[in-house]
Amino acid sequence: MRDKILIANGQGFWGDSILGPVRLVREGPLDYLALDYLAEVTMSIMQKLRSRDPRAGYATDFVRMLDRILPEAHQKGIRVIANAGGVNPRACMEAVLELARKKGCSGLRVGVIEGDDVLDRLDEFLADGEELRNLDTGEPLAAIRERISSANVYIGAPAVAACLAAGADIVIGGRITDPALVAGPMLHEFGWALDDWDKLAAATVAGHIVECGAQCTGGNYTRWQDVEGWANIGYPIIEARPDGAFWVTKHDGTGGLVTRDSVVHQLLYEMGDPTRYLGPDCVADFTSAQVEQDGRDRVRVAGVRGGPATGTFKVSISYLDGYKAVGQLTVSGPDAVAKARLCAAIVFDRLALDGVTFRDDQKTVELVGSGVCHAGIAPAIDPPEVVLRIGVRDPDRAKVDRFGMEIVPLVTSGPPGVTGFAGGRPKATEVVGYWPALVSKHRIAPTVHVETVR
């Protein structure tokens, strides 16, 4: 057993900078590179892509990124773990194998984790008594059954560890939880028992700290003036030890910072009840973590406690929830605020003249620049210009498209000083509803499969 391993996160979400992983491979020592490509909405988008093309439905960014780091990552022995498989991990694996062959990476082993996609099993679950009620509202699944577009179980660290044990240099999964991408290598390297709750909780906390990439190394940092080297900000690295203690750090010579404060910022991110952070592998108690500065750009985290995992996995179900459109115009002063409000009223009055109306709670009017983000908190001002942001939501696509046609006409038939209509007519886009639910663990058995590049 190694006495320490270095695990980095180079991708906080689908759309994060490609420089994160590319630089992590190039700029310093590393054992594992974890990459998160999924969000709740992502799976639905990928399912749609797959329905049009059976070879699509995964994060193609991942393959483009590998094109930049192979063969260097392979030569350096860095193993890559990503949930880039989306709703089609096999197709992602095929694309990676093809790329690896092209790059001459013979001997590279590519692994895939499957079993998270339960879209075709929902009726089986329902028939077996799994209710799949909405965790937030308690509603039964029947309310949206006909409109479901994707359903994936959140898979934990043991599946990642199993794929690594099977020899994979590149692990591709579907809906693997963000923390499990980092916890998986720890489980694999240190051989922790699956009921060693404190260690699993420590691994979960480590994964949580780095799962948003640079958001724990100076990104989105309250005291942003203290941060230097923004362009080459270091992505986070966990230096993990077999006893469950770990350090958060980054490569020497990179920008940003790792401080007790930068780590605490991220520990609090998307937090619910901190004493019960629910994951597939354990329940972690974030109030037990001891966080202390231990040298420049090094923070030690220890003492994390955890409890037994629950008997269920979380399922992320997405469904079509109507349509929306948002358009914007810039309104200059004088009287920018008053004129922008008038513009919004004109749009909805004209639509009403044409028989198109929307419920009040399905409309939005924002005067960006006059205190929108901090409504009711920022002092009221009369800025030299505002951006009028106006939108609607409705089950009827045609109504939403009709709305989009009444924004640009304001330039010539509204108050003076209206401009910035470069985006043209906003079109109706699908609203993807998110339905979190639970399913009994015994129904889900992730499988791993590894292929070697010849």
């Binding site: 709740e40 909405v41 937030d136 989105n220 309250t222 005291r223 404060d261 605490v264 910022h265 991220q266 520990l267 609090l268 991110y269 998307e270 937090m271 619910g272 009840d273 901190p274 004493t275 974030f286 109030t287 037990s288 973590a289 001891q290 966080v291 929830d321 929306k324 948002v326 409309k363 939005t364 924002e366 960006v368 929108v372 983000c373 901090h374 409504a375 009711g376 908190i377 920022a378 942001r389 939108g391 609607v392 939501r393 699908e430 609203v431 993807v432 509803g433 998110y434 979190p436």
Partner: protein
């Protein structure tokens, strides 16, 4: 005792939690943490966010991090892809909390 903006001594981060947001706020010493615990009640935070948070506010304590965590229910206009708001994920709610003035 003087009236000070929370942002002068505290730091914060926020994000989405379903149709609500979470706002974590923390300080760097035990004295300020006791001040946070005393002044930043769930009700006070709810009033501060009256034009943003349409549901209730829950508060959790993390004494190990000298931090409090607030859940602001119904503060994202539906959340996720359903929201029409500019800040559909509550990214700016942390800085909004730091605008609050308290007696210190």
């Amino acid at each position: 005792m003087a009236r000070v903006r929370l942002g002068e001594f505290a730091q914060a981060r926020s994000g989405d939690k379903g149709d609500g947001s979470n706002v974590g706020v923390f300080v760097s010493n035990a004295t300020d943490y006791e001040l946070l615990r005393r002044e930043l009640t769930a009700e006070r935070v709810r009033q501060h966010f009256h034009a943003i948070c349409l549901g209730g506010v829950e508060r959790y304590e993390l004494p190990n991090l000298l931090a409090l965590n607030f859940i602001l229910h119904d503060s994202l206009g539906g959340g996720g892809s359903a929201s029409l708001k500019t800040d559909a994920q509550g990214k700016t709610h942390g800085l909004a909390l730091l605008q609050m003035e308290i007696e210190r």
